[in-house]
């Protein structure tokens, strides 16, 4: 059973609901919103069903632009390609912007094992790195951290004033601190929100400008993205950039939307295209639409369970509705317990900007993997009782006492809730016969 942190539950729920509220206001200010979602879903389905052509086209264009393209079939190849690149360029200090793919492939620990100093430059991600922790949300990685905790952390790590937890002050301190790393880094890296097949561009959407800082100075630039990030052309890209920031953070557009196509003069630009289980998702008709995901985090902000539990309650590095599904696809034995963290309210499916059938997929995965022995017992027991009308009537005739006899059910329901009264058979018979 998932545990609630009562000290933070309401604060976290309200904070994330505010983000959902901002998203709602922007979504409802565009008359064509639902058409955009529909278009996004169709473009993604088109793209993932035309991957060979689109990825080929991307590679050809990117090479023509002067980029060097690498292919990684899994996390290990991804780490090795990037590690080899950094070592062959004698990189000692490496700055990167936020990339969920790098979390997925556990890049940072690997690079650190090679002796390469790796600095996260997204503010939230930097806080998480300094805390020695992991993101609790894919867009707002440090959303669970209170500013007092950030103040104490920065005091220790950056020598800020004792007890000062003013957000502007702390942001300025982080900015000054990160600037040193930007100026002295030997290489910079970004993920990729989108990869445009017709132009060979990698598109990165950020708010802090850290991706641009990190890629503007060093002689070596790397961009890595999963094969599901491909979109056919700039026109279709426009559908996604309109949806992404509005859903993710309630902004019309991210502060920076950078199209990386060619290396800067005198620099090298390497692109790493990664599969790491995506083609397996594509091959599974029950879960194929997971590849529509924009990683906007909208399903987390709307999920009544995620808002109350927070990201650390989940087994996979991506939490919330999409994380439950991705986790079960990546490592079912480790992640199947997370299938319980869903009341099947379908808010995620109703909100997803690319119409991933998130709740429906959780339902389907539950048919293959069971999250707890207790649930199995209850379900089997209920199935037996419902199997014949007389069994149902006999069970109900025992009333609440009968229900309490089902000890597991009784104990769990009775904590915090009263039992309902059970209608007698006489009442029901009378209702059936009354005209």
């Amino acid at each position: 059973m998932k545990k609630i942190d009562y000290a933070k539950v309401d604060w976290q729920d309200e904070t994330l609901w505010l983000v959902r509220g901002k998203r709602d206001r922007l979504a409802k200010s565009l008359p064509e919103w639902e058409k955009l979602r529909d278009a996004a879903s169709r473009i993604k389905l088109y793209s993932t069903s035309h991957l060979p052509e689109l990825l080929d086209q991307f590679e050809t264009k990117a090479r023509a632009n002067g980029a060097i393209v690498h292919w990684a079939k899994d996390a290990e190849e991804y780490r090795r390609i990037i590690g080899d690149l950094l070592q062959s360029h004698s990189v000692k200090r490496f700055v990167k912007s936020k990339s969920m793919l790098s979390e997925e492939c556990e890049l940072r620990p690997y690079l650190e094992s090679l002796g390469i100093e790796t600095i996260e430059t997204d503010l939230g991600e930097r806080i998480i790195q300094l805390m020695g922790s992991r993101p609790s949300h894919i867009v707002l990685p440090a959303i669970h951290v209170k500013r007092e905790e950030v103040g104490a952390l920065f005091e220790k790590e950056m020598g800020t004033e004792k007890g000062n937890c003013d957000p502007t002050y702390l942001t300025h301190a982080a900015r000054k601190n990160l600037r040193e790393y930007f100026l002295s880094a030997d290489a910079g890296m970004t993920g990729g929100n989108f990869a445009v097949a017709s132009t060979g561009e990698v598109v990165v959407c950020t708010n802090e400008g850290n991706a641009d800082m990190g890629t503007s100075l060093p002689p070596l630039q790397i961009a890595a993205f999963g094969i599901d990030k491909i979109v056919p052309d700039r026109e279709s890209l426009g559908v996604f950039t309109r949806l992404l920031a509005r859903t993710a953070t309630g902004q019309p557009i991210t502060t920076y939307t950078t199209h990386y196509s060619a290396p800067r003069p005198g620099a090298e630009f390497h692109i790493v295209i990664v599969d790491n289980g995506r083609s397996r998702i594509l091959a599974d008709p029950e879960h194929r639409k997971l590849l529509n995901c924009l990683r906007c985090g909208g399903c987390m902000n709307t999920c009544p369970v995620y808002r109350r539990l927070g990201g650390y309650a989940y087994s996979y590095f991506i939490p919330g509705p999409v994380g439950i599904n991705l986790g079960v696809m990546a490592d079912p034995e480790r992640c199947k317990a997370d299938l319980s963290a869903c009341s099947l309210c379908h808010s995620c499916s109703a909100l997803c900007p690319a119409k991933v059938d998130l709740a429906e997929q959780i339902y389907r995965s539950r048919q293959h993997y069971c999250s707890s022995a207790k649930k199995k017992l209850l379900s089997k027991g209920m199935g037996f009782v419902m199997g014949a009308p007389w069994r149902l009537e006999t069970t109900l005739a025992a009333g609440p006492a009968g229900m309490k006899a089902l000890k597991a059910l009784g104990a769990s329901w009775g904590k915090g809730r009263d039992f309902p009264d059970i209608a007698s058979q006489k009442t029901i018979k009378k209702l059936r016969n009354d005209k």
Partner: protein, 237 residues
């Protein structure tokens, strides 16, 4: 036209007044439904828990019980949505949630009775997002709410909706016992938002959500109570 009344198992167990009021309402509107014998459960609790494969015989029984009816009406949007989604196509255009049926098909312009109370609508997840009883708050489509429309036919009633008008109450079938702590937390939050409107009653088209919230209300002795929407709609009958 032969109309059947499908009694969901938990309505049979804990909400007999919902059966009584549904039948009164339908009869008042000129529909005389039959209540086929041998009904138990559509299989939703087991399916949602991950054991749909255990419900094959339950489904066969359900299909057989209802095969000779032109129309099936039931006071549960959740069960109706489940049958639509997980049963054969023969049920898709044939099964209705009672509010949906009254609102879309029978379309009464008035109902007798007065309910001089402030009532907060609990827009249940499956009612909103699967059965289409109201516009989901996530989507940019014009506002509609079939429950509000129907309640508007009753005199002297004041109808409100809460902040976060369609957030889940945390029932979720076996979710309520597998994740009971979380389920209770979600329910308490939901009841408090209903109470913040100053309403005396929480009403919904699903007895399951109401049973869960009433359990919390009774335990905490809160000054609000739950009532199924058909109880209000049939209050003058």
């Amino acid at each position: 036209m032969k109309v059947a009344f499908f009694i969901p198992c938990y309505v049979r167990a804990v909400a007999p007044q919902v059966i009584e009021c549904s039948l009164k309402l339908l009869r008042h509107l000129g529909v005389e439904p039959e209540i086929p014998q041998g009904q138990t459960c559509c299989g939703q609790p087991m399916g949602n828990a991950g054991f749909e494969s255990d419900t094959k015989r339950l489904k066969q029984r359900f299909e057989k019980i209802f095969e000779n009816y032109d129309l099936i009406v039931s006071p549960s949007s959740s069960c109706v949505a489940y049958v639509r989604e997980h049963y054969g196509d023969s049920f898709k255009g044939r099964i209705y949630e009672i509010c949906e049926y009254v609102h879309d098909v029978l379309r009464p312009v008035s109902l007798p009775g007065s309910f001089p109370h402030k009532v907060c609508i609990h827009n249940s997840c499956h009612g909103v997002r699967l059965a289409g009883l109201s516009s989901p708050s996530e989507q940019n489509i014009p506002y509609f709410n079939k429950l509000r429309d129907l309640l508007g036919l009753i005199k002297d009633i004041e109808v409100v909706e809460s902040e976060r008008p369609d957030e889940c109450c945390g029932f979720g079938g076996l979710f309520s016992v597998e994740e009971s702590e979380l389920s209770v937390k979600m329910g308490r939050d939901r009841v408090r938002r209903h109470m913040a409107t100053g309403a005396e009653f929480i009403t919904a088209a699903d007895s399951s959500c109401l049973m869960h919230q009433q359990g919390i209300i009774s335990r905490e002795k809160l000054p609000i109570r739950t009532i199924h929407i058909v109880e209000i709609l049939a209050s003058g009958l």
